[in-house]
């Protein structure tokens, strides 16, 4: 059992899902409440990682994060570190890769809020920010929890993008899914099995949490 890879995976999944909370919410709010030219293109771009082969996404990210690229170069000049083959690069790639898993449930949850609810809050004297925090956020909460759990589980299980961006550096970019792949190649079946079981268990528990949470919320609100 590669505990170092386990730690990298959990850290990456946690950081990614926490980062996706504000990013996903901002994007979902924008898509749910405004009509602008290019809205469909933006939504398609966010959803793209769902259908794109991870290697293709990984390739473009690798090129984009490379120190010779604009973004990669900017990062090097600011921090002195390269993005490719580093944990930070992996974190950044995971945010992009798990974006649809965060944005879609948040968007669906925000879209179910009728416009009158928001207007009723304004007419009750609540500012737009107060309306967001006291009305929209609590109503959309089940969708937001779903988004967080899904992006956590999805990041935990990602393989193709990690391999392309992160390589296989122990303690830095070697995640549990890469370690499983290594173990299988080295015929260490027992180790591969125990690590696979751990990933399976985490995925099952987190998805169960989503279902239980959504059901208990709907009981309170809709009884």
């Amino acid at each position: 059992m590669d505990w170092q890879a386990f730690e990298v995976s959990i850290k990456l999944a946690l950081l990614t899902s926490v980062s996706l909370l504000p990013i996903g919410l901002a994007l979902a709010y924008l898509l749910a409440n405004s009509r602008f030219i290019g809205r469909e293109v933006l939504e398609a771009a966010i959803t793209l990682p769902l259908v794109l082969p991870p290697t293709v996404l990984g390739y473009f990210l690798l090129v984009g994060l490379d120190s010779s690229s604009f973004f990669g170069g900017l990062f090097v000049s600011l921090t002195g570190h390269t993005l490719a083959f580093s944990f930070t690069g992996l974190w950044f790639a995971s945010i992009i890769y798990s974006l649809p898993f965060a944005v879609q449930p948040m968007l669906r949850a925000l879209e179910t809020i009728e416009p009158e609810i928001r207007e009723a809050a304004w007419c009750s004297g609540l500012s737009k920010w107060k309306t967001f925090f006291k009305i929209e956020l609590p109503i959309a909460w089940p969708g937001i929890v779903t988004a967080m759990v899904l992006s956590f589980s999805h990041t935990l299980g990602e393989f193709g993008v990690v391999l392309m961006i992160g390589g296989n550096i122990a303690g830095e970019t070697r995640t549990l899914s890469i370690a499983i792949y290594d173990s299988v190649l080295a015929f260490e079946t027992a180790q591969a099995q125990s690590m696979s079981l751990i990933l399976l268990l985490i995925a099952l528990v987190s998805i169960t949490i989503v279902f239980v949470f959504n059901r208990s919320r709907s009981r309170v609100v809709r009884l």
């Binding site: 009728e114 009158e116 609810i117 207007e119 009723a120 809050a121 304004w122 007419c123 009750s124 004297g125 609540l126 500012s127 006291k134 009305i135 609590p138 109503i139 309170v220 609100v221 809709r222 009884l223």
Partner: protein, 358 residues
């Protein structure tokens, strides 16, 4: 006092002028899509018209000339939405507390509001645990919690059943006596408007056509357009003629005396209307003196009784099969043994005849 004056040509055409005094209910009536809700949204600050002014309690909320446009938060309005728009994740108590103008003494204020709308004991319920009528009461309490300068009601009775609606009418009638702000009620139900409102404002295709007391608007519409909108039941056309120096209506073979002749002249084509309650049945058993006032005769085509009033559809003799409706109390219809196919006579009260120039 609320004064509204709005004009725009798109996306929804508006040409609106209405006034509502403090403590008064003004019903904004018109068919679906007439622009009623848009006007209400403009008053609330949820929609900005292209030009015009909205003035409430001597404060300018909207003025296109100097680009004043207060947000809904700045306007101090109480709004009851058609589907009530209660916050589903909050209890009745929290729904109201969120809208309180001042959080100090919240408990007492909320108790008072709940008492006002007869909702004591339901503070801890969620909106989904309430009936339609109870939800409407919460919506009203929440709207009042802000101590609004104007109360806006957007078809507040359309989402409840008829029995509940009658109960809520009575409640609103009682509640309004304790309210001092102007109240705007949007409805497409003329009976509802006539029952609850002090003034009616008829709106069609975004244009306000006439504002006045219900009796005035419903029985003395300004023109044919208003008459059609308020569903005047006897809407007929005739020509004015000069008879011995006075004006009378020449309607088929009948010469009908009228009292409202100001601004009208002989040979002028007019639309005329008479309230069905002002067409009096000549009793068969006991003739009376009033029978020579605009007598008409005809055959009963249909009889419809509703809530103690019998509506008689009378196909007038020698009038090209035109029909006049008359309302008689049910017991009068029974005593006179009115049946379909009977020939009867009736009088059209001359002071109830209302003329509208073509």
């Amino acid at each position: 006092m609320l004064r509204v004056n709005l004009q725009q040509s798109s996306p929804i055409p508006l040409d609106v002028e209405l006034n509502c005094n403090n403590g008064e209910i003004l019903a904004l009536v018109g068919p679906s899509g007439a622009g009623k809700s848009t006007v209400l949204r403009c008053i609330a600050g949820l929609h900005s018209a292209k030009s015009g002014q909205i003035n409430c309690s001597n404060q300018i909320w909207f003025d296109s000339n100097n680009k004043t446009d207060f947000t809904p938060q700045q306007r101090r309005i109480g709004m009851v939405f058609q589907n009530y728009a209660l916050f589903p994740h909050l209890t009745v108590f929290e729904n109201i507390r969120l809208a309180l103008a001042e959080q100090k003494g919240a408990k007492q204020k909320i108790d008072h509001l709940l008492k006002q709308v007869h909702l004591m004991g339901l503070e801890q319920r969620y909106p989904s645990q309430l009936s339609g009528g109870q939800q409407q009461r919460v919506a009203i309490a929440r709207a009042l919690a802000r101590e609004p300068e104007v109360l806006l009601l957007d078809e507040p009775f359309s989402a409840v059943d008829k029995v509940t609606r009658r109960k809520l009418y009575l409640e609103l009638n009682t509640l309004r006596r304790s309210l001092e702000m102007p109240i705007i009620l949007v409805t497409h139900d003329l009976d509802e408007a006539a029952m609850l409102a002090d003034n009616l404002c008829v709106i069609h295709n975004g244009k306000t056509l006439q504002q006045g007391q219900p009796d005035q608007v419903l029985h003395r519409p300004r023109d044919i357009e208003v008459a059609r909108q308020v569903d005047v039941r006897n809407l007929l056309t005739a020509t004015l003629i000069d008879v011995d120096g006075g004006l009378k209506l020449q309607w088929h073979d009948y010469q009908i005396s009228v009292q409202q002749t100001e601004g009208l002249s002989a040979d002028q084509a007019v639309h005329w209307t008479v309230s069905p309650a002002k067409v009096l049945l000549h009793q068969r058993v006991r003739p009376s003196r009033g029978e020579h006032e605009n007598p008409v005769s005809g055959v009963i085509q249909e009889l419809i009784t509703l809530k103690g009033i019998t509506t008689v559809l009378l196909c007038i003799d020698n009038a090209n099969n035109e029909v006049i409706q008359m309302d008689v109390p049910e017991h009068v219809a029974m005593r006179n043994e009115l049946t379909i196919g009977d020939s009867i006579t009736a009088s059209i009260l001359s002071d109830a005849v209302h003329l509208m120039p073509d």
